[in-house]
């Protein structure tokens, strides 16, 4: 072999050695610094104010088209996509009320529901949504509304707005909010345009039992698809599980793993200071033990929750804030936020062992106490459009009445049962129900 060929061979060996040794160095140093901060970064990547504003928004919007006291007046419950545009427009109308100095008085619920005879938009928020949060949408941390009304459940805006709106707050207290020298009729053209389109008409059919404000469709002429969903987390995918566990624990080298006979996987840090449990249906529960700092600021707590959801990669576009609850942990108050989600414009409901929200997150002080998710996504198969008509709600109500009568063995009067059932109905809504009747589908 010539000398030059030997030199070429030696050089080749040296280059290969350099590559291999550099690889070893690279995986020891920079990779560690990249991976060690999986948790803790990314809050900068989230536009927190925008995220908060998108979640502090109505989860249901009822539109009324007037008709006086006519029994033929009708309403519409807006789809998820229409809610966004209605809210955008409503915010323009509402801003002066939250920014200004309105007159606030307590009124009866009858006064509130009298407005249902006219054209209006009613914005309904999740349960226990603080007025502080709604006000924050208008960049107001303090306002007369905040000082007088603790929670906002519904806001009714008459279309011919002459400076009056109504709010239903905590314990169903109704408030009239009056702003002098103000009028805004932006909603009129929006309602008119909506009325001219296709939508499912709702009617107030329980008025004769004194239940004036619940509306229900008597016919549904839109096609509804049966959708197939599966859990986002596949318990049989070890790589996905490992990746998921890394998002909760800084250093997975010290994480104990336990697999149950059902397929449930549990990850534990230390002796249980942090635990992550993922069951065979893809339901995830994370809990952390710590000494909490005092804080009762719901806005900061929501921010903490949203940042955390963003870090976990769970901030989907179709989520909405369904409820807020106050919690207590080691003598400190905190908040639990429950998020639901929409599919095809309709909210999805399910029941899974005491968990009714797709995401439930508990914040105490500035830390996450608990994080539970049961996230489902549409399967990659075509939706099936139901050819048979949807069972109408009044038929379902009749079935409820018949079942009750059958169980009471003829000991109660049919009409009194009907009256009781109709009076007790608080809402009728078209939704998707996830039956979760297979392992993960």
């Amino acid at each position: 072999m010539s000398r030059e060929k030997i030199k070429t061979f030696i050089l080749t060996i040296l280059v290969v050695m350099t590559v291999l040794l550099t690889q070893k160095v690279w995986f020891q140093s920079p990779f560690q610094s990249i991976s060690s901060d999986v948790i803790g970064l990314d809050s900068n990547a989230l536009d927190l104010e925008q995220a908060r504003n998108s979640f502090v928004s109505p989860i249901r919007v009822l539109m009324g088209f007037g008709g006086g006291r006519s029994l033929n007046r009708f309403y519409s419950v807006l789809s998820f996509n229409d809610i966004k545009s209605a809210w955008l427009l409503s915010k323009n109308v509402l801003e002066p009320f939250f920014a200004g100095d309105p007159y606030i008085e307590l009124v009866s619920s009858d006064t509130y529901y009298e407005n249902m005879a006219n054209r209006f938009i009613e914005l309904e928020f999740g349960d226990n949504i603080s007025s502080v949060l709604v006000s924050s949408v208008f960049n107001k941390s303090d306002s007369k509304i905040i000082r007088n009304i603790r929670e906002i459940k519904k806001i009714m805006i008459p279309a011919n707005n002459t400076g009056i709106i109504y709010i239903i707050g905590k314990d169903s207290n109704c408030f009239r909010i009056v702003l002098d020298n103000y009028s805004n009729e932006e909603l009129i053209s929006y309602i008119n345009a909506y009325e001219a389109g296709d939508f499912v008409k709702y009617n107030a059919v329980f008025y004769y039992v004194g239940n004036y404000h619940v509306v229900m469709p008597l016919s549904i002429n839109i096609p509804m698809s049966q959708i197939y969903v599966e859990s986002e987390i596949d318990i049989t995918n070890d790589a996905q599980l490992a990746e998921k566990s890394r998002s909760f624990f800084r250093n997975i080298d010290f994480i104990k793993t336990i697999k149950e006979t059902t397929g449930t996987v549990v990850y534990l840090y230390g002796y249980g200071e942090k635990s992550l449990r993922i069951n065979n249906r893809g339901r995830l529960e994370y809990r952390e033990e710590f000494d909490p700092v005092p804080s009762t600021n719901v806005k900061k707590a929501l921010d903490t929750a949203l940042i955390y959801m963003h870090q976990q990669g769970d901030m989907a576009d179709n989520l909405f804030l369904r409820e807020i609850k106050e919690i207590e942990y080691k003598g400190r108050k905190g908040f639990s936020f429950g998020f639901g989600y929409h599919l095809e414009g309709y909210p999805v409901y399910f029941n899974s062992s005491g968990m009714s929200n797709a995401i439930e997150i508990e914040v105490v002080g500035n830390q996450i106490r608990g994080y539970r998710t049961f996230l489902r996504e549409k399967m990659n198969i075509p939706a099936v459009t139901k050819l048979e008509p949807i069972i109408l709600p009044h038929n379902l109500i009749e079935m409820i009445i018949e079942n009750y009568l059958a169980e009471s063995d003829g000991l109660v009067d049919r009409e009194s049962v009907r009256t009781d059932v109709l009076k007790s109905i608080s809402e009728v809504q078209l939704v998707y129900f996830d039956s979760i009747n297979q392992d993960k589908q």
Binding site: K7, L14, T18, L21, D253, K256, T257, K259, T261
Partner: protein, 290 residues
């Protein structure tokens, strides 16, 4: 361009680069912090501190500084019907799920993983049975039941009354599993032997699945002793004698109280130090240096 000269320069450059890389990678292995040798003086200080708290150690404290990987383990699955046939013969009776009897014998299979066997026969084997004979009988019994393996090590023999198995004194032979000559807990076989032969057995066994590729440095035996010292003092009265301290693997979900252990199939066994006292009490200290 003179390629020959260029090659010479490149060869020298890459040799220097590789030497630097080898040095960088190798320095951690030889740095003072990683190859910390525990001085005898430090060990003596630890011993003195323990003795001040009434704790004595039989022998010396291990000086080893090790790196060990995590170990994935699985409970050995027991088929109840097959186990009943094995221990009780063909003519057994199923009392209820996991409970079987045949003449004077009974078998419980808990969570498809834990075995409890009892033999209430009145037949006498040998009234004068001693410890060595008890061990022979126990080993023979385990071989007959396909439970004996080279990884099983007899840890201790207790002599006294264990009421669950007999009213009269018996030998309790405690076996533990090992993995690569290190203990594997919490897995055990306890065999109870007296003049009637093998009168009982309890078994909970693990199988090893795989080890994690990366090894992690573990704490020293002296650090483990110091960490566990207050628990040992609180649990024991008078003078305490530590008869053994060794490193191995430990998996015991019952301690974490996270889930019903019967539902647990597998998990991670962590490197742990095991401290055994003269009175039989055993303590585990997680050994990962986090």
């Amino acid at each position: 361009m003179d390629w020959s000269k260029a090659k010479n320069i490149l060869i020298i450059a890459f040799i220097v680069t590789n030497l630097l890389l080898v040095f960088y990678l190798g320095k951690d292995m030889y740095s003072g912090s990683d190859l910390q040798i525990i001085s005898d003086k430090y060990l003596q200080d630890v011993k003195d501190h323990l003795e001040e708290n009434n704790i004595r150690i039989k022998g010396s404290i291990p000086k080893e500084i090790l790196s060990m990987p995590l170990l994935m383990v699985k409970y050995r699955h027991i088929d109840p019907e097959a186990a009943a046939k094995q221990f009780l013969g063909e003519n057994y009776t199923r009392v209820r799920e996991g409970r079987y009897t045949a003449e004077d014998k009974s078998l419980m299979v808990l969570g498809n993983k834990k075995l409890v066997y009892k033999n209430n026969t009145s037949e006498i084997i040998d009234y004068g049975i001693d410890e060595d004979e008890a061990e022979v009988l126990a080993t023979q019994f385990l071989k007959e039941q396909n439970l004996y393996s080279s990884q099983l090590v007899m840890e201790q023999v207790y002599y006294g009354v264990v009421k669950e198995f007999d009213e009269v004194p018996l030998y309790k032979l405690v076996y533990h599993q090992t993995y690569k000559n290190r203990f594997l807990g919490e897995s055990y076989i306890n065999v109870y032997v007296n003049y009637r032969g093998v009168v009982g057995m309890e078994a909970l066994l693990l199988t090893t699945e795989k080890t994690q590729q990366a090894k992690s440095k573990i704490i020293t035996a002296s650090d483990a002793l110091l960490r566990k010292m207050s628990d040992i003092i609180n649990d024991n009265q008078g003078e305490i004698l530590i008869t053994k301290i060794e490193v191995g693997y430990y998996f015991n979900p019952e301690e974490i109280q996270l889930a019903d252990w019967e539902n647990i199939a597998s998990g991670t066994a962590f490197p742990s130090w095991r401290i055994i006292l003269q009175n039989g009490k055993t303590y585990y200290v997680e050994a990962l240096d986090n």
